[in-house]
Amino acid sequence: MAKNFFDKIRPTFSEGGKLSWLHSSFDAFETFFFVPNRVTRKGGTHVKDCVDLKRLLIIVVLAMVPALLFGIWNLGEQHSIVFGLGWGFWQKVWYGFVKIIPLYLISYIVGLGIEFASAQMKGHEVSEGYLVSGFIIPLIVPVDVPWWMLAIAVAFAVIIGKEVFGGTGMNIWNPALLARAFLFFSYPSKMSGDSVWVGGLSKALAGGTPWKGGEVVDALSGATPLSHASLDGLSAAGTSAWNLFLGNIPGAVGETSVIAILIGALILICTGVASWKIMCSSVLGALFVGWLGTVGGVTDIPCWEQLLMGGFAFGTVFMATDPVTSAQTETGKWIYGFLIGALCITVRLFNPGYPEGMMLAILLMNTFAPLIDHYVVSANINRRLKRAKTV
């Protein structure tokens, strides 16, 4: 039935049709529902593997679903704690759901809108890359971020971060992180500090009146354990490693629960969609610097607790492994991942003013990934040259 519908409207969008300028969009929707009837072409293989980008990217999205679901509940949980509401499970979920939906709508409408428009202008097919970026963005920004700010950040990330380089597959920086970095540097007051990570809290504080008649028990309990711990140590942050692992703490929606992220990591590694080498080496790098920090007396936090805090786990699993912006060579991936982990913890240890190092660590290594690859590939080139000389 759906097939008939597409067949019926196809002439309108084909060359010569009234809406032929919308061809890319038509194509995007049609291929969403149907694997196209295109057959392999001259001069190539006659059969092809049935995996395509849609499949690979939907698996990345699926892997993030546990983190999202937990995050939705946790939004309600934190709100309920801070305002002393004593909500039940479904009330918390409903609160989180209502909070997160607009962020997703903005992320996808703005992001995909630009992607469609630019594909249309270039006459390309619409690439699916943004499905993942658009899914990540609401998970890593403060839930109370003003909607117009989010829209601008998304537009910046897609246009400046991606389309100017030629679109999906050509970008240097991870678009989702770029959106967050844009927000962070443009509107720092909405992006960090103690109050932004619990839904409704900053508004209530700004207005001077407790939201919905509830009472703000302790404004400081809205701070993420990371910002606390970086100053005073974990126990002073009023939380335990177990809570960090579970994730029932304030923080960005997708980033708090290490256990939910680990489920995602398992999905990504089992399906082979993301590189286990990057995840593994990033953890190693973080442990290494974390250990140096404790040995050198810079911090009292054991190195393994660093893995549970802040955006490290989410960044390692979902953003450092972005195949476009990460190192492209297998050797390069070990170096790239290790440096991300190491840099992230270095920032945490030495910059108490800005304890969240993961975003900058990944963006910085995104920038240097081509350089790492350059040296790895040069080694291969030199091997070839040397071979030629010795013969």
Partner: protein, 448 residues
């Protein structure tokens, strides 16, 4: 001397319709064609015209750059048509066979009495020279070049391809004569790579005058380019020659019988093949002679294997170098929610994004692209199926950028299209990688 090389990277395609080990026909064709397009780097000069009568071994056209290099008719009959394409490019010389099997008789001296010049001259004159291909680039061998060595793959890992031990079981005397003749052409020796099971007392292992190598592993371990990369990789300025094993037998037969005899035992196989099996045919046979092996309907007939062969159609002709015909259903259908289906049990994927890795079965593969073309995104899928010391993605991008220096540095001399065919098969972005490499090679040939 022998060494054993185990390759882990690669993929044996689980495609259905493998040939039964049985020769079900010996085809005497009505129509054959010799296609200049089979021979890379060669510019043809026509030597016959329509209506001429020819015998097996009569030159049809020669190379403009090497007038001594001739390309001969594989059968006796009359020239039926000279097929030309755009700009009068010569596409094929078609010959209507008379079925009498007359052949030009050559006076063949003893192999031992020939030196390199004598051997070269004889092979050029008899039309056998094009059996030799040259690396880099897979062109017809340049008679003036001094090859580092000659490489022959004695194993076939291509999907649905013929088993050389079976297809050449009556030709061992010819193979011995063939390798003896090739030995005259190089000082670097004739290198024959065999699968492990051919090693243990196999007939091919009894050949003398060759250097044996043992390879193990999935496709493309049987590709001569991959084998060269592990035995003695090609460096800038070096030239090696390669010969397909079934063409070694053709060369050997010439020395045994004094005639140009291109008959070969091929497989006709694939998901859309009726009774897939072995068939004996001459080079350039028309597919219509094999029509009874093809299913009805919208079927693609491929000369060669499904990864690197050429779609020629039901009325096309077997390529000069090809020793198999693959038959597939055209996949011009829409598949609703294909990529969302968690199982998709009728399709194979090497990616663990589908549970296909849990299934041990053969698939009725068809020609559907299974997705739309996208930019390169995944970076770790290609090197898993290319068992060479090469960074494939960087080489592809150098070819796309048209940068000869980079291509050279990244190893363009070591590959031809068939070696990267699996990269194209697994590519989730559906990029036409063989065409990219082809473009790169053509650019390099122009630059040199």
């Amino acid at each position: 001397m022998s060494d054993q090389i185990r390759l882990k990277k690669g993929l044996d395609l689980p495609i259905s319709g493998a040939a039964l080990a049985e020769v079900t026909a010996r085809v005497t064709p009505d129509l054959v064609a010799v296609k200049p397009t089979d021979f890379r780097g060669m510019v043809p000069r026509l030597l016959v015209k329509e209506g001429d009568s020819v015998m097996a071994g009569t030159p049809l056209f020669a190379d403009k750059k090497n007038p001594g290099m001739v390309f001969c008719s594989p059968v006796s009959g009359t020239v039926d048509a000279v097929v030309r394409g755009d700009k009068r490019k010569l596409l094929a010389v078609r010959i209507k066979a008379d079925g009498r099997g007359e052949a030009v008789r050559f006076d063949v001296p003893k192999i031992a009495s020939l030196d390199k010049e004598g051997m070269t001259e004889l092979l050029l004159r008899s039309g056998l020279w094009p059996c030799l291909k040259q690396r880099p680039f897979g062109t017809v061998a340049d008679p003036a070049a001094a090859p580092k060595a000659i490489f022959i793959s004695g194993m076939n890992t291509a999907p649905l391809g013929p088993d050389p031990e079976f297809a050449l079981k009556d030709d061992f005397a010819a193979l011995q004569a063939g390798v003896d003749a090739l030995g005259k052409l190089t000082r670097g020796g004739v290198h024959l790579s065999l699968a492990a099971r051919s090693f243990a007392g196999g007939e091919l292992h009894k050949l003398t005058g060759v250097v044996f190598h043992q390879f193990e592993g999935p496709h493309p371990a049987g590709n001569v380019g991959v084998q060269i990369n592990h035995i003695s990789p090609i460096n800038k300025g070096e030239v090696v020659w390669t010969v397909d094993l079934h063409l070694v037998a053709v060369i050997g037969r010439f020395f045994l019988k004094g005639v140009y005899d291109t008959r070969r035992i091929i497989t006709v196989a694939g998901p859309a093949a009726v009774k897939p099996s072995y068939v004996e045919v001459p080079a350039g046979v028309c597919m219509s002679s094999l029509a009874s092996y093809f299913e009805q309907g919208n079927v693609r007939v491929v000369s060669g294997d499904v990864l690197s062969g050429e779609a020629v159609g039901r009325d096309g002709f077997l390529g000069f170098y090809h020793n198999q015909v693959s038959v597939l259903q055209e996949g011009d259908y829409y598949e609703m929610f294909g990529w969302i289906n968690p199982f998709r049990s009728k399709k194979f994927s090497v990616s663990r994004a589908y549970p296909a890795f849990l299934r041990r079965k053969k698939y009725d593969m068809d020609t559907n692209e299974n997705g739309g073309e996208r930019p390169f995104l995944m970076n770790d899928v290609y090197n898993k199926v290319l068992p060479m010391d090469i960074y494939p993605l960087y080489l592809f991008k150098a070819c796309l950028a048209g940068d000869p220096d980079k291509m050279e540095q990244l190893g363009i001399y070591e590959v031809i299209e068939e070696d990267v065919a699996l990269c194209e098969y697994v590519c989730p972005s559906k990029v036409e990688i063989q065409n990219i490499i082809r473009g790169g090679i053509e650019l390099m040939m122009k630059e040199m």
